[in-house]
Amino acid sequence: MNDFILRTNNLTKQYKKFKANDDVSISIPKGAIYGLIGQNGAGKSTLIRLINGLAFPSSGKIELFRKRNKRDLVEARKKMGSMIERPALFPNMSAYDNLEAHRLLKGIPGKEVVSKLLEVVGLENTGKKKAKNFSLGMKQRLGLAIALLGDPEILILDEPLNGLDPLGVVEIRELLKKLNQQYGITILISSHVLGELQLVATHYGIIHQGKLIEEITAEALEEKCQSYLILKVDNTNLAVTVLENKLKTTAFEVMADGVIKLFNYVEKSGEVSGVLFSEGVVVQEVSKQGESLEDYFINKIGGNSNV
């Protein structure tokens, strides 16, 4: 059985008649990088605010480190680091002082942790420069350093890639991988940058109009997003027989319009066409296709009209 660090159970957040989160149940296993995907206003930030105790659920439960009641949840949040919407910094303080203030807030002993974390996020040379003069990327990194104070077991990051230049995106991505793989930190990350998310996430939750549409592992998603050959033929039944008997495969799907999706021989379209032709099937079209995470997400939320 999976050891879940964070779970929500039918979590609903209602503002008058509007449901920002509607019966959301997510489960984040220990050691996962959980990518929360959704459009602006889908309810990602509301969910993250509920988990952090900044807002209160209208109904449903949050379970963090197996703690469910209000007082235990407050205590459990000591093992959690978070960056919500934008890094919350003291603008007139340096990076060092910002971290020091938050070290005191969390009651973490030893000042040396501050310098160490500045090195981890690459801000060790910012000296007395005030946070208000930082670039957005530097602020994001400082926010991440604050979230990392106290060696959290779970990191909750809301759009941590916002405002980062391409190099910054790569740096943060690598840092997140390192934190996950070397230190075993579980990460919940919401992002619009689906391509980037795909490079790190081990699990996904797709949220749309406040509802969790699907929760899926990276492996399962990869399977669903796998490449395939599209075959348009003059005789579908004969083509199916040829695929089964001559190419010895059943990894195909016949669509309603007679088009065949073939999930193997993807890189051997010439061989497939040749065999079909030799058995009397006219191949009208053959093309390689496959879904990216982006395509999958768009299809899940109901197509381009919803994007």
Partner: protein
Amino acid sequence: MSNLFSFEWFTLRKSRFTYVLMALAVLVAFVQFFTPRDVVSYPALFQEQVMFMAITILLPCFAGLHIATGFSQGTMKNSVASGNSRLRIYLTKLWVHGLGGIIFLYGIPMLISVALAFLVGHPIAFNLYTLQILGLSALFIFAFASINAFFAFWFADNGIVSVFLIVLGFTPLMLNEYPGLLGELVTNYLPHILSMNILNVANFTSADWMRMIAVPLVTILIFGSLGAWLFGRKEIK
């Protein structure tokens, strides 16, 4: 709770507003000390104007800026998500405002006053009368801090909070002039007006003493509880 105090103290030390307040405190000390008076004693030097400033300008600004800035900068989010209970966060802020008020309004001016007195050669009376005035003033400053903290947590916006609290500080001083029940209630039971009587401590009857202690205590209890209740249910944006 010591980690929350350390955090508040650290952020106060790093805040520009703290140094503006300190400069004001020093200025008040100098102005008061060199204002010609018949009797040169510490309470007489400071009481009237210091309490007025405490009610109307300094403490409201202190509360408004320090607490509401936490909301606008987003650092309140970090406090709430840090694993500290909201009640502890609120009570720490309330304590820091009360103590900050006492340090800025009395501590710093008093030290300067004593230093000046030694330099200039004025005698300064530290007797029971002085201690009674200081004790009551501290009680009233905590009462004002609890009122200000309540509204600062309610509005959570520096500009609105500062203006509202300054207006709130002046309003009872005007209502005091109203005839009838309203004026009587304001005069006898509002800490803003009662605090102006502290200097008459030598002439207090038992009933006066009771009222001068009970009113700020009840104020602290009511506004402290209301503020803690409000913050416990407030959604942090």
